[in-house]
Symmetry: C2
Subunit: 231 residues, 2 copies
């Protein structure tokens, strides 16, 4: 650090909220801490930012060290900077969030000894988390609830090939609300952002559903038009 900057320095961390959809449940990635404070508590994967790295790179590095997950595109959620949020002093944290598909993902496993383990945990029964991580989680859940309406984030959570029923279940879990099957299908198919495949689900008892893929090209075309007032 060079010399003529004032001495108002703060310790600076990153916490990651990584969502996935598994067995009909929305889950997030947690670690069990191996360091004080909050040793042995469950927490969001998070750690300190180095002074020589940008915060986006720091987020990637930290997630990798604590969970073994690599190359996940995260976005900023919010900054939490209350004076009392860390028991040992002033620590400002940037929360990042991401939504990923589990299929093809390895089991999470910490690379650094900072975390004892890393694992997926259903969001509907979260235990108390370290620091203010419960608050951070709640804010990110609210964020994806809003975002699902105007952004194709739902598809990030599903396998590449999915059935309409799976897609509907995901919406229902995120919105915490039952949806009508016919209306849901009609609306989704009318958007024209799904590509119907010549494949069916494998290995299910009972009738197999048709599979679809998300068509990103069509999606981008569609959402370049803005909302309007009949201008």
């Amino acid at each position: 650090m060079e010399t003529n900057l004032p001495k108002f320095e703060s310790v600076f961390t990153i916490d990651c909220v990584i969502f996935a959809f598994d067995a009909g449940k929305l889950k997030i990635l947690l670690i069990e801490r191996n360091e004080e404070p909050f040793k042995d508590w469950l927490a969001l994967p998070g750690n300190f930012v180095n002074t020589d790295e940008g915060i986006d790179q720091a987020a990637e590095r930290i997630l990798y060290e604590l969970t073994g997950l690599k190359g996940i595109y995260m976005e900023q959620l919010h900054i939490f900077g209350d004076v009392g949020r860390h028991p040992q002093g002033r620590v400002i944290t940037v929360a990042y969030y991401a939504m990923i598909r589990l299929s093809g993902q390895k089991e999470p496993k910490p690379v650094s000894s900072f975390a004892k383990k890393a694992f997926w945990h259903a969001t509907d029964m979260l235990p108390k988390l370290a620091f203010d991580h419960t608050k951070i989680f709640e804010k990110s859940l609210q964020k994806i609830k809003n975002k699902i309406f105007y952004s194709p984030i739902a598809f990030e959570l599903l396998p590449e090939k999915f059935s309409l029923t799976q897609l509907q279940q995901l919406y229902e879990v995120i919105l915490n609300k039952k949806l009508d099957k016919r209306n849901f299908r009609k609306k989704m198919l009318n958007y024209g952002i799904l590509k119907e495949l010549d494949e069916k689900q494998q290995g299910v008892s009972y009738r197999a559903a048709k599979l679809y893929k998300f068509d990103r090209r069509k999606y981008n075309k569609l959402f370049q038009k803005e909302l309007s007032f009949g201008g």
Copy 2:
């Protein structure tokens, strides 16, 4: 700062993007810097966060010191933490934004000597700003463009009593697009979030328009219902 925190410290600042609507133009609040680096440049009001204050309080304090504006509710926009964004070392900044009504507001005037002056500047002809402040401004403009569709931010920018034409002009300026008068009025009035007053505009040549107020209670009721899929 206490002792057993690691030494990954960063200098930490806040920058404010304050929008207002004046003379048919969208404007933001700028300062002329009185300190190196970027002495004499135009910049967003911004400064260092103290280690003993929360970031939201810091934002309020900094805005006051540099512009004399007090009690303005700002929200976080984004964090900018590239390694090279400050010429003297690693500085992470949190951008805050707010939209305010000019009527009843005093002329901005710095309280601290950090800024030579503070003033409103139209957003459609911004000069080059210090640091990465142009990028920060652009991100906040994008934010309010999106937000105007689902949040009553437009009303924050108008005087308490306003005409429908004023409201439409504001939408047109923010969205950068002409709107149809009849459709705009129909839609706005149908929302039922405007209260019609028994007053008319004063001091205009030509026919005076009816004045309206924003009805926050009705707005809140309306926007508790969520978007849906016919569930």
